[in-house]
Symmetry: C2
Subunit: 216 residues, 2 copies
């Protein structure tokens, strides 16, 4: 019982996991701010406090780092609307989704920015994802929305465009942060700002869809 350091048992890959995490975190910030070409391996290494050669030990090359960052982001893809059924209340579902999206902009702004920059560049590294996972996910959600409309549970609103509205409105708070800060006269965006944002988006979207505000 002489060990005081509260670390788990040594295993191959334990150091790897931690180092990769550090590098990935630094890379996410770098890519978010400077883009793929603008973020240098040296700057990523410095931000992660490791020698540059170390980055190349854990990742094949710069594209490897970038791909890992992107995959990590896709892993954060929200699951709020995943188990949606026709029997769900659209008001509650939309509220939950908007809250989750706003919360993502607050807690993962840099991931949101990397994703946005990739989109702006034409999403060359997301084609596979868009055509496979995302395409399926979306089509299933659209089906539910249409069923809600057919059942008279909400106004007849094009579901795809409605989702774009929610995405655009919520991602705005991460992606256009400088503009938002200036508009709200805030040095940094506080929880209260995000709460107000979520409230407004829910208010407009729900009423705009012919739904009453849901409590939970």
């Amino acid at each position: 019982m002489s060990r005081t350091a509260p670390r788990g048992p040594y295993k191959p890959g334990r150091i790897r996991q931690k180092s990769e995490q550090r590098i990935l975190s630094a890379a996410t910030a770098a890519f978010a701010q400077h883009g793929f070409t603008g973020a240098s391996m040296q700057s990523i290494a410095d931000a992660a406090s490791v020698p540059k050669a170390n980055v190349h030990y854990y990742f094949k090359n710069k594209l490897g780092v970038y791909t890992a960052v992107l995959e990590n982001i896709l892993g954060l893809w929200d699951t709020v609307l995943n188990d949606l059924t026709i029997n769900d209340d659209p008001a509650i579902a939309l509220c939950r989704y908007i809250d989750a999206k706003i919360d993502f902009s607050r807690t993962h702004p840099e991931e949101s920015r990397v994703f946005a920059k990739e989109m702006l560049s034409g999403a060359p590294h997301l084609q596979e994802f868009l055509e496979a996972d995302y395409g399926q996910w979306l089509d299933a959600r659209l089906t539910i929305f249409r069923a809600w409309i057919d059942a008279g549970k909400m106004d007849a609103i094009d579901p795809a465009h409605l989702l774009f509205m929610i995405w655009g409105s919520t991602q705005h708070y991460a992606d256009f942060a400088p503009q938002v800060k200036q508009s709200l006269h805030a040095e940094i965006l506080q929880q209260a700002h995000f709460d107000a944002a979520a409230k407004t988006v829910k208010q407009v979207i729900l009423k705009g869809c012919g739904l009453a505000i849901a409590s939970p």
Copy 2:
């Protein structure tokens, strides 16, 4: 009357104006796709069909090109809401604004992307604009919105967040084009897609604000 070429009289700067325009246009596309660092002077020159040294003849350096691109974009800033007064009908004003914004995404997607990337990078070259022109423009608009609300012309909705919703929703069609294309199963976005987008956004925003759809 022997001149057949329909060109105006020669003046110093006539060539300059044309060349700068070509370069600026090529640079906009390059910056939109590859970002500031990723777009090389050589690629810009090639796209503009001029030798690279020629780009340096017309612009001081790369930052000079980029600044010119940004200023050109700010010059396209919409004027739809400029002459807004308390006596205007909010429904008509919002409709016009949404239409104009969607139309901008359709006709100037690359300019929208350059602007978005600059925002994502923290807007280092837009601070001045945000604090001066934009700040004033916005505050004046917000005042009108609040007056409308106080007059009972529309629901009590935070005007700043409402504008964010409109911006986010409309810019989405230029900035997240790959995702939109995939969602709509469209190779390229047609006029009809933008019409549907505008219709949905107007439908949701107006009703969400407690306004009836306006005809003009």
